[in-house]
């Protein structure tokens, strides 16, 4: 034991690093997760690009595939939060959370480990989706810095949503329930947004919601950066939304974690 040799912060970081490495090791050893988290977005690309896209009216000058991909990327990282929730629900069911909670370790490390490793996984699934987009005709016009900004915002959104997923996973404690719960909050947010269609054709009430919810701001910012069109206030509004949600759900997730008891 050498707990006394280092300070509090050292051990917070050390614990988080140990558990991040743990969760990163899961990625190559459980490739099914990576495969399944790309299947749904690939299907969306095919569905919207080739089935529905032709019927969707856009302002002149933008091809639908270029419009679509920002929505696909946001959809991909949003649904990536399932993995965080499912992973934690499994840890709970298998008694691992009990073990961790009985150790003299940081109370947030398990959550940080999961969310950080899911950030890395989101990067990989995002890269795969970028390739898929290029294959179906996606042609980003933005500069290198702008594309980088877009990738950064996507990863931030994915990280924030992972904390929502973590809170749900620890609260409902059941893998299937995590997936249903995820659908309930993610689907409306994604579809009542500018992810796949312009919001201008929505009825007034829905349009007001769509235009002011975080997903639309993130999609519009990412779309602007990738396509080299003006981003306007969407960038900073997105970041404020993300940081706000992050603060709330980090606090909630840690609170639920402290109380989490295996559902045996």
């Amino acid at each position: 034991m050498n707990a006394e040799r280092h300070g509090w912060l050292y051990w917070q970081i050390s614990d988080a690093a140990v558990l991040t490495v743990r969760a990163l090791r899961h990625i190559p050893r459980n490739p099914a997760v990576l495969v399944f988290s790309t299947i749904q977005p690939v299907m969306f690309v095919v569905l919207f690009r080739y089935v529905l896209g032709g019927a969707i009216k856009l302002p002149p000058g933008v091809s639908y595939v270029n419009f679509l991909m920002a929505g696909v990327f946001v959809n991909t990282v949003a649904f990536g939060s399932f993995t965080t929730g499912v992973g934690l629900a499994e840890d709970l069911q298998k008694g691992l959370i009990d073990r961790f909670r009985s150790l003299p370790m940081s109370r947030a490390a398990v959550l940080i480990g999961r969310t950080l490793s899911d950030l890395v996984r989101n990067f990989f699934t995002g890269a795969i989706m970028f390739g898929v987009g290029v294959i179906v005709g996606f042609n980003p016009q933005g500069g290198a810095l702008e594309v980088l900004a877009g990738v950064g915002l996507l990863l931030l959104l994915g990280f924030v949503f992972s904390w929502i997923g973590a809170t749900i996973g620890l609260a409902v404690k059941n893998v299937e329930a995590v997936q249903s719960a995820g659908l309930i909050w993610i689907f409306p947010l994604i579809f009542a947004s500018s992810a796949f269609v312009p919001t201008s054709t929505m009825p007034a009430g829905l349009r007001a919601f769509a235009n002011n919810q975080p997903i639309t701001h993130v999609v519009d910012a990412v779309r602007g950066w990738f396509l080299g069109t003006p981003v306007g206030s969407h960038a900073w509004i997105s970041i404020v939304w993300c940081l706000g949600i992050l603060v709330v759900f980090v606090a909630l997730a840690v609170r639920v974690y402290r109380r989490a008891a295996a559902s045996s």
Binding site: M1, N2, A3, W11, S14, D15, V18, L19, R22, R25, H26, R29, N30, K94, G95, L96, D98, R99, F100, R101, S102, L103, P104, M105, A109, A261, A262, S263, S264
Partner: protein
């Protein structure tokens, strides 16, 4: 009682824990002297797992006081966690990590240095017969191997106090014996150990003292011999040739006993406590013969913990998973 003057390594005083309307612990008192093994025995839902969860800081009690190694389970929770190891009935290992990675991870979380954690992991993998499987993911392990890995993980930081929650539930006999072996070795090393079990022979074999709990309270404490003595001396046991005779056999035996008659359908057996059993047996056999009951086997024996349980709680210890707690 426990060792003179020194503070017990594990102490509970009037512990109360409720889950909604269910009272899991109803004023539990418990004491484990340093360096001894206490077997916590009780039927399903008696509160065994809840007690362990309070001692290991996973739950906070609604009332009462609990401490481990002189540290309060609520106020000093974080320091306490550095003094304990926990191995549970769910074999809490990460299936996607190798045996070695599991142990090093837990060691690091106990705040051991990387080198210490690695060295200790190697030592434990050898001791627990997992050296050959050390670099395989735990997913590929048998149930017995997972339990051993789980126990090894709880020992990585050599904690002075260990909690084992039903360490052998669901294991095949060979794996159970291997676990008993490891637990006996810990006992020889002077670790303070609290283990819950539903297997009476397990407590009899491994524990220095046994606490019997039922409905969230301690109803008896002592060595296995002391508890058996409480039940009274000898027991008469008769195995019947025909299952249909059991009811009549029970009624015929009852007047000869000092306590309730126990009827086991599966074993076609009736039994009960009877002081000076050998002398009474003659009369019992005469009565059985007169009633036309055919006896396959008969015995006068010392009581088992099963008998202790029956006489203390009025019901037989049941096997199976403990209810959610």
């Amino acid at each position: 009682m426990t060792s003179e003057g020194t503070r017990p390594a594990i102490l509970a005083e009037g512990l109360v824990k409720r889950f909604g309307k269910t009272v899991a612990l109803d004023g539990l008192d418990l004491e484990v002297a340093a360096g001894t093994v206490l077997g916590l025995l009780g039927p399903n839902g008696a509160g065994k797992t809840t007690a362990v969860r309070i001692f290991t800081t996973l739950l906070e009690p609604d009332a009462g006081h609990a401490e481990v190694a002189g540290l309060d389970c609520v106020r000093d929770a974080n320091r306490l966690r550095g003094q304990i190891g926990l191995a549970g009935q769910y074999a809490a290992v990460d299936e996607l990590l190798t045996g070695r990675e599991n142990l090093v991870m837990v060691g690091r979380l106990y705040r051991m240095s990387r080198a210490d954690a690695r060295a200790r992991a190697r030592e434990l993998l050898d001791q627990f017969g997992l050296a050959d499987a050390a670099n395989r993911t735990a997913k590929t392990y048998s149930g017995g191997m997972r339990r051993r890995l789980d126990l090894a993980a709880s020992l990585i930081a050599t904690p002075p106090v260990l909690f084992l929650d039903e360490p052998t539930t669901g294991l095949d006999p060979r794996s159970r014996l291997a676990m008993w072996d490891r637990i006996s070795a810990l006992r020889a090393q002077g670790v303070t150990l609290l283990m819950t079990t539903q297997y009476l022979e397990e407590a009899d074999y491994l524990a220095d003292r046994i606490a019997v709990i039922d409905r969230g309270r301690t109803i008896a404490v002592g060595t296995a011999d002391e508890l058996k003595r409480q039940v009274g001396g000898e027991r008469i046991e008769l195995t019947l040739a025909r299952e249909s005779d059991l009811a009549l056999a029970g009624r015929t035996l009852e007047p000869h006993l000092d306590g309730p008659v126990r009827v086991e359908d599966d074993a076609r057996r009736v039994s009960g406590a009877a002081a000076e059993g050998a002398r009474r047996m003659t009369e019992v056999v005469r009565d059985f013969d007169a009633a036309g009951l055919r006896i396959d086997d008969l015995a006068v024996r010392r009581p088992t913990l099963d008998d202790v349980f029956l006489s203390l709680t009025g019901h037989v210890a049941e096997e199976g998973e403990e209810a959610a707690a």
